[in-house]
């Protein structure tokens, strides 16, 4: 009931000049694609992190056309967008903190793998501001880390 009231207050208040779900979602896609894609670097990641902060702020002002309670898919996409923003932030901030290239994603400013510092799981915690990034050790079982090489 508490949650129902919160959702109603956040999404069903009539607003002027609010943000559209689709508009924010497109901006989210573009900023992740351009700054945190397969090739990324510190500058692009920082830009993405800043943009995400802005999008999260604007998300509070999201405006829905649909205020009905029957199969309201606009509401579900709005809720999903909130979670996607959280997940995107976790991804971008962990990537920013990880000054190495591992797997298919390349930090062009740090092309080598650094097992010394980053053979770890990144853990992102939600805070009032940016997420806090911590690390957990990786248990290697069958497959040790290797180089990601193409066309060999």
């Amino acid at each position: 009931m508490e949650e129902q009231r919160r959702i109603r207050e956040q999404f069903f208040q009539p607003r002027d000049g609010g943000e559209s779900v689709a508009g924010l979602r497109n901006e989210l896609t573009n900023c992740m694609e351009s700054g945190a894609g397969i090739y990324r670097e510190e500058a692009s990641l920082r830009q993405t992190c800043d943009k995400l902060r802005e999008l999260k702020e604007r998300y509070k002002n999201v405006q829905l056309d649909d205020h009905s309670l029957t199969f309201n898919t606009e509401l579900t996409t709005a809720l999903e967008l909130g979670y996607m923003l959280d997940a995107a932030e976790a991804v971008a901030h962990s990537a920013l903190a990880r000054r190495e290239s591992r797997g298919s994603h390349q930090r062009t400013d740090h092309p080598d793998r650094d097992d010394e510092r980053y053979l770890k799981h990144s853990l992102a915690y939600r805070t009032e501001g940016d997420p806090r990034i911590e690390y957990q050790d990786v248990t290697i079982t069958k497959w040790p880390p290797g180089d990601r090489v193409y066309g060999s």
Partner: protein
């Protein structure tokens, strides 16, 4: 190709969409939307354009956009189709009429209630009932390619319910098990690892099971995965009839 896309950038196509808003109205109505015509767009792309750019209140189900999840089935110009596989270019320049899957109760707009279908799937026990249980330590249940071939066709079903909307018998007799449920029951009946055929027969042989089918055949025609549920039902009728005569000749013999 790029040039022709440019040429068509300003062309539009209209969608005539079935609307039903139970909180506001008793009867459904039609609403038109003009969307850009792009030859590489499918109807689902056009609906997503409407939802994102024109009218956020339009409700419909969709997920994978590639003919795998089975959630975006709707009536397009009266034919049940996956909207992710229906290209605008096949209808252009005529308007496209979009309705919820027919014979199902409509919850809202293009969203139907599928509880009846799910209950039917349950009632035919469309899952593997192992012939013999064995502990995991004894390994897998092996199957030869020939054994796989016996049921593979029926296992392609994605539960999109297009076949129910193609079947007039489903429309007239809501209790009829229907094409997909029977085809999926057959998928397990034909599986060499399965031993549940007798349990399923209880439901399948019943009045609202296979006997209601009059082989209209449209279910197989609209199936996006070529499952051929109509064929599955006919084969079941043949089987049920032989079983019936057998049980007549050997009253206490089998079962």
């Amino acid at each position: 190709m790029a040039a022709s896309n440019q040429d068509q950038a300003n062309e539009t196509i209209s969608l005539e969409v079935f609307r039903y808003r139970p909180e506001e109205e008793d009867e459904p109505s039609w609403q038109s939307y003009e969307v850009p015509f792009r030859p590489d767009w499918v109807v689902l792309d056009a609906l997503n354009y409407v939802k994102d750019e024109i009218d956020g209140t339009l409700s419909y189900r969709w997920s994978c956009r590639m003919g795998v999840c089975g959630s975006c089935g709707m009536m397009i110009n009266g034919e049940p189709k996956l909207t992710c596989a229906a290209f605008l270019r096949d209808y252009y320049p005529k308007p496209i009429r979009i309705e919820p899957l027919t014979y199902f109760p409509v919850i809202r707009d293009l969203v139907i209630n599928m509880d009846g279908f799910l209950d039917k799937l349950d009632s035919v026990q469309a899952w593997l009932i192992p012939k013999e249980e064995k502990p995991v330590s004894e390994g897998e249940y092996l199957q030869s390619p020939a054994e796989l071939a016996k049921f593979k066709k029926f296992s392609m079903c994605i539960n999109c319910m297009l076949c129910y909307s193609a079947c007039p018998v489903v429309g007239h007799i809501p209790g009829f098990l229907g094409p997909a449920a029977i085809a999926l029951a057959q998928r397990y009946n034909y599986d060499s690892r399965d031993g549940g055929a007798d349990e399923r027969a209880e439901t399948l042989f019943s009045h609202e099971g296979i006997w209601e089918c009059t082989f209209v055949g449209d279910c197989s025609h609209v199936c996006p995965k070529d499952v051929d549920p109509a064929g599955a039902i006919q084969r079941y009728k043949v089987k049920a009839t032989t079983e019936w005569y057998k049980s007549l000749l050997l009253p206490r013999g089998r079962r």
